[in-house]
Subunit: 335 residues, 2 copies
């Protein structure tokens, strides 16, 4: 199973909106469809978004029929801009766009630019695969025998097009033979925990218990959880971490109950240009994701809903950030 796969002339993704009931692959040939797949969360998770965007840009660039380099670059900008408008919070997207742009600086012919873009997208993908495997190995050292781990949203192979971040750590600990179990927040509104994390854990034969987001505090307060691990969409220079809405609440509840709270993310998720979490843009998505579940309206007609997709966890609640360069602790310094 590969969340994102480059086919040479197309990008193959799993439509994650259809999981767990349907495992459907889509082959995308037109770059705007890649951007649309990112927007609609067919492909999601900060590392996977970056990888898909890189391939999407490479895909779009192959079709550019420009008279000269400057015309090429101008058409290239249109493509890159579409991706930069797709989702605002995950910084991996912007890092990928930046890297793709830098590649062009060293190339002088149309052909070399096109093939260099494909190579760069592949590099981004491979580097993320290696980074997520490595950080999972570092993170597994934090998981003790018989641990019960709480996680939120989905930060597994689907989210990373690699080994996984939070779930990578959990999968690695399990493969090392540790007897562990996982409590999975369902993660409203889009239920990535119930739909994707529960599914990935079942495939790995890791015992998992699904709970509503509102139950996490109950289990934390009763001493049932040994640690909390989540992924990240953007980490500021001071360690403040944007992640799926509900993460901040978990961090506060873990803190109140003296349970360690870990963030697992490749360094591509760190945004050293941003000093603190208050500068991270938070995506506001459509209210019908809240008022409707699987096409069924759960609220009265005309009800107003808010739908911030992420929140920011201040670094003071985070025990450690697990990266491919090792486990980083306060005061956070990523350079």
């Amino acid at each position: 199973m590969k969340a994102v796969e480059w086919l040479g002339d197309a990008l193959r993704i799993i439509d994650q909106t259809l999981l767990p009931h349907t495992l459907k692959y889509i082959d995308i040939r037109d770059y705007p469809d890649v951007a649309e797949a990112i927007k609609t969360l067919r492909v999601r998770g900060a590392p996977a978004i970056g990888i898909a965007a890189a391939y999407g840009i490479a895909l779009g660039a192959q079709r550019i029929a420009a008279a000269d380099r400057s015309e090429f670059l101008s058409e290239y900008e249109t493509i890159a801009e579409l991706f930069s408008q797709s989702r605002p919070t995950a910084v991996n997207l912007f890092h990928a766009i930046e890297r793709m742009g830098q590649v062009l600086e060293k190339q002088h012919t149309m052909d070399s630019m096109k093939s260099a873009l494909i190579d760069e997208a592949k590099s981004i993908h491979e580097e993320e695969e290696i980074a997520t495997k490595r950080l999972s190995e570092y993170g597994a050292s934090l998981i003790g025998e018989n641990f019960t781990i709480l996680t939120h949203c989905n930060a597994g192979p689907l989210a990373t097009a690699g080994y996984g971040t939070a779930l990578g750590v959990i999968i690695e600990a399990h493969r090392q033979g540790k007897r562990i179990q996982v409590f999975v927040d369902e993660t409203r509104p889009l239920l990535q925990g119930a739909r994707l994390t529960a599914w990935e854990l079942m495939k790995e034969h890791i015992p998992a218990t699904l709970i509503t987001d509102s139950m996490a505090g109950y289990f934390l307060s009763r001493g049932r959880i040994n640690c909390v691990i989540v992924g990240a969409d953007r980490i500021a220079a001071n360690g403040d971490t944007a992640n799926k809405i509900g993460t901040y609440s978990l961090a506060v509840l873990a803190h109140e109950n003296a349970v360690p709270f870990y963030v697992a993310a490749p360094l591509s998720t760190v945004d050293t240009k941003i000093e603190s979490g208050s500068d991270i843009p938070i995506e506001e998505r459509k209210p019908d994701e809240v008022t409707t579940i699987a096409g069924h309206r759960i609220a009265p007609d005309g009800a107003v809903a808010a739908n911030p997709a992420f929140d920011v966890t201040p670094h003071r609640y985070i025990h450690a950030i697990i990266t491919e360069k090792g486990i980083i602790r306060k005061p956070y310094n990523f350079t």
Copy 2:
């Protein structure tokens, strides 16, 4: 609109499981159907459960055809026992059953016992109506002009067969002319916030914004909430409060962000026999309430889920408990 209404020979309730899409009344003539309606949450909310159980017991008692008082009491015990098995957490249920039983001690004929039971059920209903109105008036004094109030689950007229507790306070503040708005936690798994509280607020023309339970922390941390008010299912002698799962998390998040957290409940919800919250029994409901929403399965087949229906908020997180005898503050003393 009356959540619970005595018709003389039947109990009329709103089937709350069908709201907000269908407003359907059910007339129940057989007492086991009242117990079943409580179990399946057709009628729910601690005060409404107590009232419905009292009427259900009175209804069952009318049909007892006993040869003597002792035979009557034995059959009565079977009826009362069925209700005491319906739901374990809301203490109003047990207080109502206790009061109904005490009535019989003073009556000596079959006819007088039967009519006294109906009278006592009516008294319980009337007293709860008065208590919820009074506590709402006390509570409204805590609501300032332009307040944004966060609430969880449903503690309105539907839940109380009266004026409401948490929502009673909000409705009263609005009727007094205060410009307020409400953030409503959807309250998974059974979505009483999205289905019932949003509906009741819209009927009262009180501006409301529906959020997922995981968003409450986000809005609290951004200074968007002036106070949190919830109802209660059982309050221990020290003020520890059992309420819908997720309440504890809200209380911790409110505390962390220095936002006042209030519990509104009639004194019938206080269980002075229980010293602290750790002695309150927590109902564990079926896992399919978590894995399924409105008949649609949201988790993989075979996924395991937990479903504690309540949690306990330690009294240290509660700024005040709003009762019909006034606003009670720490150290809590209900006698």
